[in-house]
C-alpha cells in the first residue's frame, strides 16, 4: 500500500534556521521531514509520510501576506499532497496566524484538507478555528510529544476521507459546529464529576459554553397608532385548517404567509396550530388566542389602529434553529416593509 503524502509548513525557528533574527527569511522548500515533522512521521507509522517541508520566516509571511501565500501555495501545488499540515505553533502568535492563514488558503484554493495546531490563547486560534481544523496544544513545544499523535490521527482521517468526529473526540478546537458523539460516561455521572471539580476549585470544561446573545433594541414608539398599519406575526404555528404548506410541528424549515382579507374571526373550522410544543387544544378551539385577529378587527373598527395588514406570517418556534428563525425574519421583514406596514404584533407561545 502506498503511503499518503503530506506537505508540512513550519517557521524558521522549528526549521533550525534561527530565532527572531531570521524571522524575515522567505519561504523555502526542502525534501522530507524536518524538526517537528520527524515526530509527525513517527506518529504516521506506515500510513503516511511528509514528502517535503516548507520553512518560512514568521515576519516575512505576515508582512508579505499575499506574496507569501502565493509562494507557499505554489510549493504545495507542486507536490500534490493528500493533506497539508502546519505547525503546531503552540503559543507563538505570528507563527499561529501564519499557520491559520496558509492552511485556510491551501484548503480553499487547492482543495486539499488541512490540519494545524496551536494553543487556545494563540491569536491565530480565534481567527481561524471556524475555518480550519486546529488541534489544541499546550503553550510550549514540550507538548509536541502529545500533539503529534493528535495531529497525525486527524490528518490520516482526512486523507482517508473518514467522517470527522466531534471536537472533543478528534481534539480540535471547537469550530462553531455542534456535533453529536457518545461519551464514555453517562451525562449524570459527568455532571457529578463536573460538580465536584467546581466545588473543589479544580479545572473542568463545560460541554456547552454560553453564547453571546444577540439583543435587539426596540424601535421608537409609534406616535399615532390610529394611522398605523399593523401586521400579525407569530411563532405559535397558527395556520389555515389542514396546514396547507405543511409547516413542521418542530424545527420549522419554512414560514407561511396567509391572506386574512375579510376574515373577522379565526374559528375551529378555519384555523388551527401546527405547533408541537404546547397544548394545542385551546389554540385549535379558537386560534385568536394565539393570533388575535378578532381583537385587531375590533381595534380597526374603533379606530384604535389604522388598519390590520391583510396578510399574516406564521411559523413554529418549537425547536427551530435560531439561524432559520433569523432567515425567516429577514424575509418577513422585507415583505412587511415593502407592503408599507408600520408595526407588527409578534405573538409567541
Amino acid at each position: 500500500m502506498s503511503k499518503y503524502k503530506l506537505v508540512h509548513y513550519i517557521n524558521q525557528f522549528y526549521g533550525g534556521i534561527g530565532g527572531e533574527e531570521k524571522a524575515d527569511i522567505p519561504a523555502e522548500k526542502r525534501a522530507g521531514a524536518i524538526g517537528p515533522g520527524l515526530a509527525l512521521n513517527q506518529a504516521f507509522g506506515d500510513e503516511a509520510e511528509i514528502v517535503s517541508t516548507i520553512i518560512c520566516g514568521d515576519s516575512w509571511f505576515n508582512e508579505n501576506l499575499e506574496e507569501a501565500k502565493k509562494t507557499v501555495l505554489e510549493m504545495v501545488r507542486e507536490d500534490q499532497p493528500d493533506v497539508f499540515i502546519a505547525g503546531p505553533a503552540f503559543n507563538a502568535g505570528r507563527y499561529g496566524v501564519a499557520c491559520g492563514a496558509i492552511s485556510e488558503a491551501v484548503k480553499n484554493e487547492l482543495g486539499i484538507p488541512v490540519v494545524t495546531g496551536m494553543y487556545i490563547e494563540n491569536p491565530g486560534a480565534d481567527m481561524y478555528r471556524e475555518k480550519v481544523y486546529i488541534i489544541e496544544t499546550k503553550n510550549s513545544a514540550a507538548d509536541m510529544r502529545k500533539a503529534a499523535p493528535k495531529m497525525a490521527k486527524l490528518a490520516l482521517k482526512l486523507a482517508k476521507g473518514e467522517e470527522i468526529g466531534a471536537s472533543a473526540e478528534d481534539n480540535y478546537l471547537p469550530n462553531g459546529i455542534r456535533k453529536n458523539f457518545f461519551e464514555k460516561k453517562r451525562g449524570s455521572e459527568r455532571a457529578v464529576e463536573m460538580l465536584l471539580a467546581k466545588i473543589n476549585g479544580k479545572a473542568y470544561t463545560t460541554e456547552y459554553p454560553m453564547p453571546d446573545f444577540d439583543r435587539v433594541d426596540p424601535q421608537p414608539a409609534i406616535k399615532d397608532l390610529s394611522k398605523a398599519t399593523v401586521a400579525l406575526v407569530t411563532s405559535g404555528g397558527i395556520v389555515p385548517k389542514g396546514n396547507p404548506d405543511r409547516i413542521e410541528s418542530s424545527s420549522a424549515t419554512k414560514f407561511g404567509e396567509y391572506d386574512i382579507t375579510g376574515v373577522e374571526d379565526l374559528t375551529a373550522e378555519t384555523y388551527e396550530t401546527a405547533h408541537g410544543g404546547y397544548d394545542p387544544v385551546y389554540a385549535n378551539q379558537d386560534a385568536d388566542r394565539v393570533l388575535p385577529v378578532d381583537v385587531m378587527r375590533e381595534f380597526e373598527r374603533e379606530g384604535i389602529i389604522g388598519k390590520l395588514h391583510n396578510k399574516f406570517y406564521t411559523t413554529t418556534g418549537n425547536g427551530t434553529a435560531v439561524a432559520s428563525a433569523k432567515k425567516f425574519a429577514e424575509e418577513i421583514a422585507r415583505r412587511l416593509i415593502a407592503d408599507g406596514v408600520d408595526a407588527i404584533l409578534l405573538t409567541s407561545t
Partner: protein, 428 residues
C-alpha cells in the same frame, strides 16, 4: 428514608394462558391483562405486543415507558395518588423488574410522538431499545370526551398495567439488592457527613399542558409550588410522566423510577459529597410562574444551606428560561451549579443551542443536538402505526419514505437526548 430495591432480572417475555415469572422470563396472558384496560369506556381497542432487543421492530407513536415495580414492605404502593392510595412511599422494600418495560403506544391524542427501534442505528439512541418491551397498543373511542380525558385514560392504563405486571415479582428472590437512605436535616450534620459539601438535586418537571405534564402523588405539577421530595419516593413512582411530545428529551415514567442523577449522587454520598435533598420545580408557561418557581428553588437551596446543586431540565425552548433562571438564582446564592440540558443547534449544528443563556451557567452537561439528522431503515414489523411520522416533532413532510425508512431528527427517538443525563450521547 430507607428503601431497599430488589432487582429481578427479566431476560424475555412470552405470551401464554397464565401469568408468571419463570427463570427470568415474564409470561403473560394478554387476554387477561387487557381486560381491565378495556373496562375504560374511552378506550375503543387495546392489545399487547412483545418487542425484544435486536428484533427488527419499530414502536411508534410511544406515549410512556414504565418499569414494573411492586412494593413488598413498607407503607403505600407503586404510583401513589395515581393508581394507589396517596400514602407516602419511599421506605421499606420494593421489587423491580429490571430489563423490561411496559410501553404504551398508539394514536391517542394531539401530536403522535416517539419512536423506539429495537435494532439498527436508532437503537443506539434510545435506552428502551435495550429492554424487553411489553407494548400496550391502544386506540381511543371517538365518543365526545376531551383530548385531556383521552390522554388520561391512556396514561392510567399504562400505569395500571405496569403495576399489575409488577405484582408478579412480589414473592420472588431478587437477583440483586441495593439500599438507598436519604438523610434528615439533623442526620446531614452527622460526624460522617458534616465536613462534606452539601449538594442537592434540582429536578425540573415539564408542566406545560396536554402531553406536556408531569404528576407528583397524583397532583398536576403545574399546580404546585417548588417543593422537596425524598429520592426514595421517586424510586417508588411518586413522580410519573404525562408527556411525550418531542420525545427525545421528555422524561418517561421509566426515567423517573431510574433517575440517573439520583443514582449517581447516592454513589458519591458520604464519600465526596453530602446529598442532602431533592428539590422538584415545575416549568410552567407563564413568566410569573417561572419567576416564582425559580425564586422558590433558590429559597429551598438557602434553607438547606447548600454548597452546590445539579439541575436537570426537561424539554427545551420555553423551559430553557426556567433552566437559566434556576441556575442564575442558585449561583447568586453562592450555590455552585451544574446544569444538564440538550441542544437544538440546527441540522447543521451551527445555531445557538439554547433559547436562553447566562454567564452564570458556566458548567453545562449536554445530552446532544436533537436536530441532528438520522436515517432509520425500514423494520420488518411496526407496533402502532407510521401514519404520523411526517407530523411529529423532528419529522417533516416526506420523513416517511415509501420503503418504510424514516429520515428525521434525533428528536423523534424516545429518550435520545435525555436531560437527566441518562445516556452517553453528548455534543461539542
Amino acid at each position: 428514608m430507607k428503601l431497599e430495591l430488589g432487582y429481578i432480572d427479566i431476560k424475555g417475555i412470552r405470551f401464554d394462558d397464565y401469568n408468571a415469572i419463570e427463570d427470568g422470563v415474564l409470561v403473560v396472558n394478554p387476554d387477561e391483562l387487557v381486560k381491565p384496560v378495556l373496562e375504560d369506556e374511552l378506550i375503543k381497542s387495546a392489545h399487547f405486543e412483545i418487542a425484544a432487543p435486536g428484533e427488527s421492530v419499530r414502536i411508534t407513536p410511544v406515549k410512556d415507558v414504565i418499569e414494573p415495580r411492586v412494593k413488598v414492605e413498607g407503607p403505600g404502593a407503586i404510583f401513589p395518588g395515581m393508581i394507589a392510595k396517596v400514602d407516602t412511599v419511599g421506605s421499606g422494600r420494593t421489587h423491580v423488574m429490571r430489563g423490561m418495560a411496559v410501553v404504551t403506544a398508539g394514536p391517542i391524542v394531539g401530536f403522535q410522538e416517539g419512536i423506539i427501534d429495537m435494532t439498527g442505528p436508532g437503537a443506539d439512541y434510545s435506552p428502551f431499545s435495550q429492554l424487553h418491551n411489553l407494548v400496550l397498543v391502544m386506540e381511543m373511542q371517538d365518543n365526545g370526551a376531551t383530548a385531556h380525558e383521552y390522554e388520561k385514560a391512556a396514561r392510567m392504563a399504562g400505569l395500571a398495567t405496569a403495576a399489575r405486571v409488577g405484582e408478579l415479582a412480589r414473592e420472588l428472590v431478587p437477583d440483586e439488592v441495593e439500599v438507598f437512605e436519604t438523610p434528615t436535616i439533623a442526620q446531614s450534620y452527622s460526624d460522617e457527613l458534616k465536613d462534606l459539601p452539601r449538594v442537592a438535586y434540582v429536578m425540573m418537571l415539564q408542566s406545560q399542558g396536554l402531553l406536556h405534564d408531569t404528576y407528583c402523588y397524583g397532583v398536576d405539577v403545574k399546580r404546585t409550588l417548588t417543593t422537596m421530595i425524598s429520592a426514595t419516593e421517586v424510586m417508588d413512582g411518586a413522580i410519573v410522566s404525562g408527556n411525550c411530545v418531542s420525545a427525545c428529551d421528555k422524561n418517561t415514567t421509566y426515567h423517573h423510577l431510574n433517575n440517573p442523577v439520583i443514582q449517581d449522587l447516592f454513589k458519591q454520598h458520604g464519600k465526596t459529597l453530602n446529598y442532602v435533598g431533592t428539590i422538584i420545580t415545575n416549568e410552567n408557561v407563564y413568566l410569573a410562574d417561572k419567576l416564582r418557581s425559580s425564586d422558590w428553588t433558590a429559597k429551598l437551596a438557602d434553607f438547606l444551606s447548600l454548597d452546590a446543586a445539579i439541575v436537570s431540565q426537561e424539554g427545551f425552548g420555553n423551559p430553557d428560561t426556567d433552566l437559566i433562571l434556576n441556575c442564575k438564582k442558585l449561583e447568586a446564592k453562592g450555590v455552585k451549579t451544574v446544569i444538564i440540558t440538550d441542544e437544538y443547534a440546527g441540522q447543521d449544528g451551527k445555531s445557538q443551542s439554547l433559547a436562553d443563556a447566562d454567564v452564570a451557567a458556566d458548567a453545562v452537561v449536554t445530552g446532544g443536538n436533537a436536530n441532528e439528522l438520522i436515517l432509520l431503515p425500514p423494520m420488518d414489523r411496526v407496533i402502532g402505526c407510521l401514519d404520523y411520522v411526517d407530523k411529529i416533532a423532528g419529522g417533516h413532510d416526506g420523513s416517511l419514505r415509501p420503503d418504510g425508512s424514516i429520515e428525521a431528527e434525533l428528536q423523534v427517538i424516545t429518550g435520545s437526548t435525555n436531560e437527566m443525563g441518562f445516556n452517553r450521547l453528548s455534543a461539542r
